[in-house]
């Protein structure tokens, strides 16, 4: 082991040289040996997995039977269970309670007025005793009303109100379970990877078939996509708890359940909240895709306005999603941080519940008044602000005046950064590439990891998607490199200064929840269709975890170590460079890991601007309703990210051991 680490550099150089050599002369060698398969995997040897998968799903939906009920009955039952609370909330805040269907429906009870909804949300903020938050949610929801987004945003809100708690609760339990049982952890972990990395488009059609067309299918897709970070952070948080805390809990006589819910979970709250934050953000991220399968709401508005090239309307609606995300996130964070006070017993009923009673009175009064005063029922239309013209002229101005400058930046980056990477990846013969990946796996995780890397990359070869996979790696790789170069310094800054942290968090939340479609089209207008545009979109979206994890890593360093450094007379600079940064590296690596995951998940979106990689394959499969083809391409994306994930995690673990953190 030590020998190997010592000889690392020599090995590295030998392999690098060999790889480069093969990249330059691979084609000639293949020609000499008369073995074209080295460069290009022969088509007739491609394993037709896609066909089998399509067949299986068809069988599952049409013929599978569990004695008394069919598989479809089962999935429809689940859909029905989720539909009840969803419809209730939807009726309450958006549609009103109706009797009858379609245009015959009569309104029994009108939905809550926009004023009442704002009142309720402010009341919730007030409950947390955070005055700033009250203002925040007020203005956030006022934005929705003023910019004419109220109706759609209430539809979206209903689905979020269902999807987030379900995702958080399931995620928390799965996290706890996998903390308790190592076997379960090993089973769940790859499933999570698949859930997070198979592009949503790949399983959209099967979900539609199983759960029916409409908001419920969209909800389920949202939960599948948004839940994994919760499981991961739960596990991470529980594992990182100081053993002393656990022991003190045991010593004071906790039962197992008490230990978990009274000691471990409360201690890990700060990390858990990162998970909740991610679930909210990712749920809102799915809004666009969910609207493609019948969820309606804000996502539909974004798509429709961008198809009309009404960029202003797209931005307004996109910002509405962001505003909703930030308000909900801050509210949930504040709720967790409420200081539990001892209940005062001898307060009268009226006094204790005075606020709730006031709220209900307010809602009832508004309800009855709204029959006479229509502006109470829905926000008056003539007060709605429309900024379309402003955005349109802004883009036009940039387009006319700065297009050439932007073009030259683009050409430079393309020729000196992106294209060399692309040529290199596509030039190296696949057998050599598989070997290198396996060797890296062996270096970090011995036989097990090496086998994993080997088998997963062979899967990509045998399904005939190698070339597209390489383009995928090129696109994601270049984006991740740039995202890390930008993100990590920002994260360090946020880790040191809390002011910077506050500003950066808002920016990052915005980037992560603003539907990428909103900025994709203006970017296309300025940079044309192509890889560069795709890379910009991927960077913008995947920047967030690089910043967030770095900041978290720097902030959460054991204070005693920093103090020890101070006592030894380190300067601030030395503390940052010699103590904080190295200790934060495992966390930073996890951030990069997440950046890679997000970059891969953006591929489907970049396929919308015409990139030719696995994302496009998934997108084609979706438009041709080819379930198998989509799933196979989706699995290839997932496998790329699993290989990256495993290697980075092993690297991170090694460093942790090296620094004595584990």
């Amino acid at each position: 082991m030590t020998n190997l680490i010592k000889n690392n550099k020599i090995y590295f150089f030998i392999f690098f040289f060999l790889t480069f050599f093969l990249f330059l002369y691979g084609k000639d060698i293949a020609g000499l040996l008369d073995a074209k398969w080295i460069i290009k995997y022969p088509k007739h040897l491609v394993f037709p997995l896609a066909k089998y998968l399509s067949g299986f799903v068809k069988w599952l939906m049409d013929d599978a039977n569990f004695i008394i009920f069919s598989f479809r009955d089962f999935t429809r039952f689940i859909a029905w269970i989720i539909e009840i609370p969803y419809n209730l909330i939807l009726a309450l805040i958006s549609k009103g309670f109706l009797s009858g269907q379609g245009q015959d429906a009569k309104e029994i009870l009108a939905p809550l007025s926009w004023m009442s909804v704002i009142a309720i949300i402010m009341f919730m903020a007030l409950y947390t005793k955070d005055k700033l938050l009250v203002f925040l949610v007020f203005f956030a929801f006022l934005y929705l009303a003023i910019f004419g987004q109220w109706k759609s945003s209430m539809v979206t809100l209903s689905s979020i109100v269902i999807a987030v708690p379900v995702g958080v609760v399931i995620g928390l339990f799965l996290g706890i379970l996998s903390y308790k049982s190592e076997i379960l952890e090993k089973i769940i972990s790859p499933v999570l990877d698949l859930m997070q990395t198979i592009p949503v488009f790949a399983y959209l059609v099967p979900i539609l078939v199983m759960f029916g067309f409409g908001p419920v299918a969209a909800l389920i897709a949202t939960i599948i996509y948004a839940m994994p970070p919760m499981v991961r952070t739960t596990l991470l948080a529980l594992k990182n708890i100081d053993p002393q805390i656990k022991e003190s809990g045991l010593m004071s006589g906790c039962t197992k359940r008490q230990l978990m819910w009274r000691v471990l979970i409360p201690t890990s709250k700060p990390t858990l909240m990162i998970g909740v934050n991610q679930v909210i953000m990712l749920s809102l991220n799915m809004v666009i895709i969910a609207s493609m399968i019948g969820a309606g709401g804000l996502g539909y508005d974004v798509l429709a306005s961008l198809r009309r090239l009404n960029i202003g309307a797209g931005i307004e609606t996109g910002v509405a999603i962001v505003v909703l995300a930030i308000a909900l996130d801050r509210l949930s964070q504040a709720f967790v941080n409420i200081k539990t006070e001892r209940k005062k017993i001898n307060i009268s009923f009226l006094k204790r519940y005075s606020r709730i009673i006031f709220l209900f009175l307010f809602i009832i009064i508004i309800y009855f008044l709204s029959t006479y005063l229509p502006f109470l029922k829905s926000f008056p239309e003539h007060l709605v602000i429309n900024t379309s013209a402003f955005w349109e002229s802004l883009i036009k101005y940039i387009n006319i005046n700065y297009f050439d400058t932007l073009e030259s930046i683009k050409v430079t980056l393309l020729t000196y950064f992106m294209l060399p990477i692309k040529r290199f990846l596509l030039g190296v013969p696949w057998p050599w590439f598989v070997l290198i990946i396996s060797l890296i796996g062996w270096h970090y995780g011995r036989l097990k990891l090496a086998m994993l890397c080997f088998l997963l990359s062979l899967f990509i070869v045998f399904t005939g998607l190698w070339e597209k996979a390489m383009v995928t790696i090129y696109l994601c790789g270049s984006s991740v490199i740039i995202a890390s170069i930008i993100g990590i310094p920002l994260g360090i800054w946020a880790g040191i200064s809390s002011k910077a942290n506050r500003v950066l968090t808002v920016i990052i939340d915005t980037l992560q929840t603003l539907p990428s479609f909103v900025y994709l089209i203006p970017v296309v207008m300025l940079f044309r269709v192509g890889d560069f545009t795709a890379m910009l979109a991927v960077i913008l979206y995947s920047l967030a975890p690089a910043v967030r994890y770095t900041a978290h890593g720097i902030k959460n360093i054991n204070k005693e170590i920093v103090d020890a450094g101070l006592i030894c007379g380190c300067s601030q600079r030395q503390i940052l460079l010699k103590i904080k940064l190295p200790l934060a590296i495992p966390e930073i690596l996890l951030g990069i890991n997440q950046t890679i995951m997000l970059a891969l998940s953006m591929l489907v979106i970049t396929a919308l601007v015409g990139t030719r990689e696995l994302g496009q394959e998934v997108y084609i499969a979706l438009t041709k309703a080819d379930i198998g083809r989509g799933l196979v391409a989706g699995l290839c994306v997932a496998f790329i990210s699993i290989i990256a994930d495993r290697i980075i995690k092993s690297g991170s673990d090694r460093l942790k051991i090296k620094y004595g953190m584990k």
């Binding site: 399968i293 089209i521 601007v609």
Partner: protein, 315 residues
């Protein structure tokens, strides 16, 4: 607290009783679900159909859905009617899902889709030979950008639209490079950007759409499409290769779930009878996208002006 109780009571009443108020004029009062997509033309056709069916007494619900993803819903009977399925872009999906009879093709809407290479009029100054396709090679350079120079750059539709542009360029020996946009939003985003700068652009445009009415321009005249041109290499300008002609112009179909015919045969007949022509549609789309009217207003207008037409559909 009364309001809570009221909500509660109504919730229960909805769950247990409140499902339908019945009248017997039509086969079933269950709502027929029509899908809405994200382009204006489709919203107009669907809304016209919905209004007509309402006049016949049917209960209608409009559901936003994706163009392709909706087929899963049509197949299971969760959705019932999709008013626009373009021959040019939806052929594969139609074939795939109508195969087992659970989705049926209800016939043409009467509108024909045009898809072809298109350029803004200001490019005619730089390339006076247009719209004749033979001029394309003379001014390829005028249409080039740094990445494609000296070849011209043609922005094609998403690969999923098909269209055989790569083959066309090869067969007609054009010095052009085909770049595929991923969506039509990206496609028209580039058009708008180029139009603002009066920059060269040649791209895939289709009609009925708002773009040909908003921007001044023309389609390129290729040798007209025939079936032989696509199947038989010896046909046309290039004796060795197929696709040496323009794109086909296909009808826009209506599709429906097979449930529609079983449960609401009258509605099925009405959907089958529905026709509009392309010019009429172009005017309606322009009234919405360019003149800023709402879809509802334009549809209501159409309904009052064409009463004898739609009333014959629901006889």
């Amino acid at each position: 607290m009364t309001i809570i109780r009221r909500y509660f009571v109504f919730l229960i009443s909805i769950v247990f009783f409140g499902l339908s108020t019945s009248s017997i004029a039509v086969e079933s009062k269950d709502p027929i679900k029509l899908t809405l997509h994200d382009w204006t033309g489709q919203l107009i056709t669907t809304n016209i159909m919905a209004e007509v069916l309402k006049k016949a007494g049917y209960n209608i619900e409009l559901v936003p859905a994706d163009y392709i993803a909706q087929f899963a819903g049509l197949q299971t009977g969760d959705l019932h009617v999709a008013m626009e399925m373009w021959e040019t872009t939806g052929r594969d999906a139609i074939d795939e899902y109508t195969a087992d009879g659970r989705v049926v093709n209800v016939g043409s809407t009467g509108m024909d889709a045009i898809e072809e290479w298109w350029y803004p009029t200001y490019m005619k100054e730089k390339c006076p030979g247009l719209p004749n396709w033979e001029a394309l090679n003379d001014c390829a350079e005028a249409f080039s950008i740094p990445e494609t120079a000296p070849k011209g750059r043609y922005l094609g539709g998403p690969v999923t639209w098909g269209g055989f542009d790569d083959e066309r360029v090869e067969a007609l020996e054009l010095d052009w490079e085909v770049i595929h946009a991923g969506t039509d939003a990206a496609l028209f985003g580039e058009l708008e950007s180029a139009y603002q700068r009066k920059a060269p652009i040649m791209l895939w445009v289709y009609a009925p759409h708002w773009a040909p009415s908003k921007f001044d321009g023309e389609f390129v005249d290729f040798p007209p499409y025939t079936a032989e041109c696509y199947n038989d290499p010896s046909w046309g300008v290039n004796p060795n290769l197929a696709y040496d002609c323009g794109k086909p112009r296909g009808p826009i179909w209506k599709v429906a779930s097979s449930m529609l015919k079983d449960k609401w045969p009258g509605a099925y007949d009405a959907v089958e009878a529905f026709t509009l022509d392309s010019n009429e549609m172009g005017n309606l789309v322009a009234a919405v996208d360019l003149d800023g009217n709402t879809v509802e207003a334009v549809v209501a207008d159409w309904m009052t002006n064409n009463e004898d037409r739609w009333s014959s559909w629901i006889k």
